[in-house]
């Protein structure tokens, strides 16, 4: 067992864990942040995506012990139910989710994507989404939500 301190959404979380504990499981079970979802645990679905030092990565492919000394952002950092971020609001307004299982991972990827590309084409949005699987929506409303969020962000 190893004692580690992870910085998640700016808050330090210290726990004693096995080296084999996945970062996704630390986030959910040790830090109690269940917005990050586990869909496949082998790096293909994207539901577990968080931002590590700003970059979207698959948290099911890291061990919690590896994340010490890094900054982790999860979906909880974006907004609250009473105060959604512009991106989250665009997803609500565009019906960009149904069951919502894939959504947190997509929000983390797209929050990074829109910081780099403020006026993406639909093709660029689809490319950015390619690491995420959604079984409900057929992706169209997700794409619409991202384009709407980008438009609203540009308008300030």
């Amino acid at each position: 067992m190893k004692r580690v301190t992870l910085t998640i959404n700016g808050t330090a979380v210290t726990r004693e864990v096995e080296a084999r504990l996945l970062l996704s499981d630390f986030i959910r079970h040790e830090a109690g942040l269940t917005g990050t979802h586990v869909g496949c645990e082998h790096g293909v679905c994207g539901a577990c995506t968080i931002r590590l030092d700003g970059a979207p990565v698959r948290s099911c492919l890291m061990f919690a012990v590896q994340a010490e000394g890094h900054d982790i952002l999860t979906v909880e950092s974006l907004g609250t139910p009473g105060s959604l971020s512009v991106l989250q609001q665009a997803f609500q307004d565009s019906h960009g989710l149904q069951c919502g299982y894939c959504t947190p991972g997509i929000l983390m990827t797209i929050s990074a994507f829109l910081e780099e590309n403020t006026d993406p084409t639909e093709d660029e949005v689809r490319h950015a989404l390619s690491g995420h699987l959604c079984r409900c929506t057929g992706y169209q409303h997700i794409v619409d939500a991202v384009l709407l969020a980008a438009k609203r962000m540009r308008a300030g």
């Binding site: 190893k2 096995e18 080296a19 084999r20 996945l22 499981d25 645990e41 082998h42 790096g43 994207g46 995506t49 590590l52 970059a55 979207p56 990565v57 698959r58 099911c60 492919l61 890291m62 061990f63 012990v65 590896q66 990827t109 490319h127 950015a128 390619s130 690491g131």
Partner: protein, 289 residues
């Protein structure tokens, strides 16, 4: 879907990492980006007793353009960093072009070039690109250092020339001669999927537009990256016309040995190899001019 227990070491230097690997041998695996190893561990098809985590070891991730136009890339350079590096866009654009197709941005943010090459999946893009570029790999162990050409590194599916105590430490990519054009082209069913077929094409022309050198390598075409030396040789001395390209594509089709997958039969992969090689060669020729 949870990995089996292991002892985790995160040394701060390459020397420490190599000493650990020497001590534990085949009981230990290096952990680089984890984008191939951790899925295998989560499935428990890999159950290393010891992980030597390279992510805290200093100095392994550099990407440096050399004065002679070559590129030296540390094994721990993240694929995304290599993709973004100027050298990948300018002196060796095929690196950025091929990396753009590797898995997804999230995987490239964490995955490393050295890790990807050491994993040696015959369906991976970068091993084929390295073979086409005639890259050399620096292999290090507690015993010392050696370097080998990429084609000699890949021995079979997931099998490399690394000794049990060795690590791929750096990749040296030679400068491309002037008037060289390169292209990476692949076909996958969905963006980011393993390619059903992928081809790296490099063509060098002289001032008269005559080909002086050509290189072709494929992924998903056999147990290792498959070169097509007869196809490449057939272009030398020609102006790489459409007829020359068609002949080269025909030869390449005979030089690959695809074994098929759930997505494509061997015959279809062989067909794709010819189609993609022709397109990649045409693009490489345009870019060489």
């Amino acid at each position: 879907m949870k990995p089996a227990p292991f002892d985790w070491h995160a040394p701060h230097s390459l020397e420490e990492a190599l000493a650990l690997k020497a001590r534990h041998g085949d009981d230990a695996r290096f952990l680089a980006g984890g984008q191939s190893l951790v899925p295998a561990m989560n499935f428990r098809v890999a159950q290393p007793a010891v992980l030597v985590d390279l992510n805290r070891a200093a100095g392994l991730g550099g990407i440096e353009a050399q004065a002679d136009g070559s590129l030296v890339i540390g094994a721990m350079a993240r694929s995304a960093a290599v993709e973004r590096h100027a050298g990948a866009g300018t002196s060796h654009p095929i690196l950025a072009e091929a990396l753009h197709e590797v898995a997804h941005p999230q995987v490239r943010n964490r995955g490393t070039l050295g890790g990807n090459l050491s994993h040696a999946d015959p369906a991976s893009e970068m091993p084929a690109v390295m073979v086409a570029l005639n890259a050399r790999f620096v292999l290090r162990s507690a015993r010392g250092e050696r370097d080998i050409v990429a084609a000699d590194f890949f021995l079979g599916p997931l099998t490399t020339a690394l000794a049990p105590d060795e690590m791929l430490a750096a990749i040296r990519i030679p400068a491309l001669p002037p008037r060289s054009g390169t292209a990476w082209l692949e076909i996958a069913r969905r963006r980011g999927d393993y390619a059903m077929m992928g081809v790296a094409a490099i063509v060098t022309l002289d001032t008269g537009g005559v080909c002086t050198a050509a290189s072709l390598a494929c992924c998903s075409a056999g147990p290792t990256p498959m070169t097509a030396p007869r196809a490449a040789a057939s272009l030398v001395g020609t102006k790489v016309s459409d007829t020359d390209i068609a002949r080269a594509a025909d030869l390449l089709r005979q030089e690959v040995a695809p074994t098929g997958s759930v997505q494509a039969s061997p015959a279809y992969q062989r067909h794709l190899a010819g189609v993609i090689a022709a397109r990649a060669l045409a693009t490489a020729r345009e870019r060489a001019a």
